[in-house]
């Protein structure tokens, strides 16, 4: 039972990060029908921005501000930095290709991905960056928390999972309860009709990139709070986020959340109960199964066309 609880905590931690990445994919796809393959690298850049801000604030061994302020500032800085990066990517890599055949922005997305990964390596090197959060408050984030049975759920996990769910709820409220969200949904439903109704499409698209990239920045920090980050993490993280988005139904916000969590559970339980070697095989087999038997994903709608 303890193993099950521990694996569930692992799954929630992992899944909530995947869900945040998947939301970026799904938001952009929903509005632009574009698979933004540079999104994993935005996640990576977010983790590096967080690291830089952490060092500016004195690092974890000698922080200039209280721990909770430090973590909040690091996360907000990464979100802001990634939001700016998202705007730049949209402006220079995707907007000029908006009316081009669909393969063109896809190739542009891959190009941006390579550009970001290689630029980061040139600028900062390939060495891993460790936030070393264990040094904060003498390891309190790891050693304190609450117990479920004999399993300790450390504060850092609580912070990671809690923050991810708060961000997901805020996103859901924004999309479903605000005018901007309504404009996003209208643009997603029919871009041309939305434009005719007076919606500023460019603005909506830029805002979508801001949202998606900011979530990737937050996910990057949440990931790097627990494990060292490096320039190569973007590829795998992006692939997992994309898988989660497809499983949930690309374009569907609740789908991305569910897909991310499902992926986290699949990966964690496979590692725990089947074999640590097989987790990626199982994860990508699920993707293949969905592509064959339910291509629209868990929450997506089948694309019906009048012929």
């Amino acid at each position: 039972m303890d193993t099950f609880i521990q694996l569930t905590v692992d799954a929630l931690t992992l899944g909530s990060v995947y869900a945040l990445i998947a939301l970026g994919y799904t938001l952009v796809y929903g509005v632009l029908k574009l698979l933004n393959f540079a999104h994993g690298d935005v996640f990576m850049v977010g983790s590096f921005i967080g690291f830089g801000v952490l060092q500016l604030l004195g690092g974890t061994s000698n922080p200039a501000v209280p721990v909770w302020v430090l973590l909040t500032l690091v996360t907000l800085a990464a979100m802001a930095g990634c939001a700016g990066l998202g705007v730049a990517i949209e402006r220079f890599a995707y907007r000029p290709l908006r009316d081009a055949p669909r393969i063109a922005p896809l190739i542009s997305a891959l190009g941006v991905s390579f550009f970001l990964a290689n630029s980061m390596q040139l600028l900062f090197g390939a060495a891993p960056r460790n936030y070393d959060t264990f040094a904060l408050s003498n390891g309190a984030l790891y050693l304190k928390g609450f117990d479920v049975g004999d399993v300790r759920v450390p504060l850092l996990r609580v912070i990671t999972i809690g923050s991810a769910f708060v961000l997901m709820i805020l996103l859901w409220l924004l999309v479903n309860r605000t005018r901007t969200g309504k404009a996003m949904r209208a643009t997603s439903f029919d871009r041309e009709a939305a434009a005719m109704m007076g919606i500023d499409i460019d603005r909506v698209i830029v805002f979508t990139f801001v949202l998606g990239s900011a979530l990737a920045g937050a996910a990057g920090v949440m990931f790097a709070l627990r494990v060292p980050t490096q320039v190569s993490i973007g590829f795998v993280a992006g692939l997992k986020g994309f898988t989660a988005a497809v499983i949930g139904g690309i374009g569907s916000i609740p789908g991305a959340m569910a897909g991310g969590l499902l992926l986290g559970f699949a990966e964690s339980y496979t590692q725990g109960y089947v074999s640590t070697k097989w987790s990626d095989l199982v994860v990508f087999s699920i993707l293949v199964a969905f592509m064959i038997f339910r291509p629209q994903g868990l929450f997506g709608r089948a694309d019906i066309r009048k012929v």
Binding site: T3, L7, G125, A126, A127, E267, S268, G272, T276, K277
Partner: protein
């Protein structure tokens, strides 16, 4: 039908072109291998090590000591030596070592190589160096099969100045048995030659002593070890973690504490980095002692510190100094035998085995074993991480 024939022709032409290109490369390498080089001119030594990436600390340390060896030892031996770098980040796998090897082999002035630093890189490139007659003197590749055993992976051009895992594995295991009195040990490998060989060596020694073991295997790209930590039994005393990425050892040790597991992490030479792996109570083994405790090395250390202000003496650099010293002596011997003109690079290779060094940087004297290309009577050392993060020699 026509299309099929056309396709077959394209494949045929492509094969011929590729074959010609390969043949051209071989001819070029053969020419470089047999080209005579004057010992009065500048000769080159390659150093193949990860200068960037997760193990970049290791490569930079090795490079600084190899530079210092060239600076202080080449002139007294009557040699002009230029050190040339080959960066092999561990994240890019072993194949990059082969690319570097081809570059060095094509340069007739490269007469010897320090490294490649990792066992995987050494295995990948050893035949290329041997075919070109270039000796490689290795300061850190410890895989047993590189020098011995029925499935020997190293060529006759492979030499190392540090002992292999045939010593490290049993040394670590015996320390766990005799000093830590372990009952159960979890062992992790990373699905690459270095860690698998070492994990096997530790596991077999522990099993022979009746210690219960649990074997886990993680891909080399793993970043989050939570699931592996979950699989470590609550009553395990030690987790043997032979990574080549010290930050991963730190993450694993922290995640053990996070899950309230009592097991201590026992890292190998690949995780020996006081700046990255510093969870108190953990252990690491290494092929070199702390040379700051060797009185005969005092002048040498001061000289190196003058050239590298602010840096501290680690465990990976001194063997690189030793490897460079061995190679320089072999070059000097070959030059003397060839009367000042190296007829071919293989002449240096023939001399490596005969090198003897009286005042060895790691203590005592140095010579190779007559049976293998390993150092004679070398041993591994074990350190425990203290509460201030420093490494204390415990065995």
């Amino acid at each position: 039908m026509r299309r099929g024939i056309g396709l077959a022709l394209v494949v045929l032409v492509a094969s011929v072109v590729a074959g010609t290109a390969n043949g051209g490369q071989r001819t070029e390498n053969a020419a470089a291998a047999s080209q005579a080089v004057s010992c009065k001119g500048t000769l080159k030594i390659g150093i193949v090590t990860p200068l960037t990436g997760g193990a970049g600390f290791l490569g930079q340390e090795q490079l600084s000591w190899a530079k210092y060896a060239v600076k202080t030892l080449a002139k007294p031996l009557g040699l002009k030596i230029q050190l040339v770098n080959g960066d092999t980040p561990v994240e890019q796998g072993a194949a990059v070592a082969q690319t570097v090897a081809q570059k060095f082999v094509a340069d007739p002035k490269v007469v010897g190589v320090i490294g490649p630093a990792t066992s995987g890189g050494a295995v990948a490139s050893t035949q290329t160096y041997f075919q070109a007659g270039i000796p490689t003197v290795n300061p850190s590749a410890t895989q047993t099969a590189l020098t011995q055993g029925p499935k020997k992976t190293g060529s006759p051009a492979f030499f190392r100045v540090v002992p292999g895992d045939y010593i490290q594995g049993p040394t670590d295991a015996h320390y766990m048995i005799d000093k830590l009195h372990v009952k159960k040990v979890a062992i992790i490998d990373f699905q690459e030659p270095y860690s698998v060989g070492l994990a096997n060596a530790v596991e077999s020694t522990l099993k022979k002593a009746g210690v219960s073991t649990v074997r886990l295997s993680a891909p080399n790209t793993t970043t989050d070890y939570s699931a592996y930590v979950t699989k470590v039994p609550n009553d395990a005393d030690v987790v043997f973690f032979p990574t080549q990425k010290p930050p991963d050892a730190q993450t694993f040790a922290q995640q053990l504490l996070e899950q309230g597991k009592k097991a201590k992490v026992f890292g190998s030479d690949g995780s020996n980095d006081p700046t990255a792996f510093k969870v108190p109570g953990s252990y690491v083994s290494n092929f070199a002692p702390d040379i700051t405790g060797i009185p005969a090395d005092k002048g040498l250390i001061n000289g190196w510190k003058n050239d590298n202000p602010g840096k501290s003496v680690g465990s990976f650099g001194p063997p690189a100094y030793g490897a460079t010293q061995v190679l320089l002596n072999a070059i000097q011997k070959a030059c003397a035998k060839d009367h000042g003109v190296l007829k071919q690079r293989r002449d240096v290779l023939r001399q490596v085995k005969h090198v003897r060094i009286k005042n060895w940087i790691l203590g005592g004297s140095f010579r190779f074993s007559t049976k293998t290309n390993d150092p004679l009577n070398a041993k591994f050392y074990i350190f425990q991480i203290q509460s201030n993060g420093s490494y204390k020699l415990v065995a």
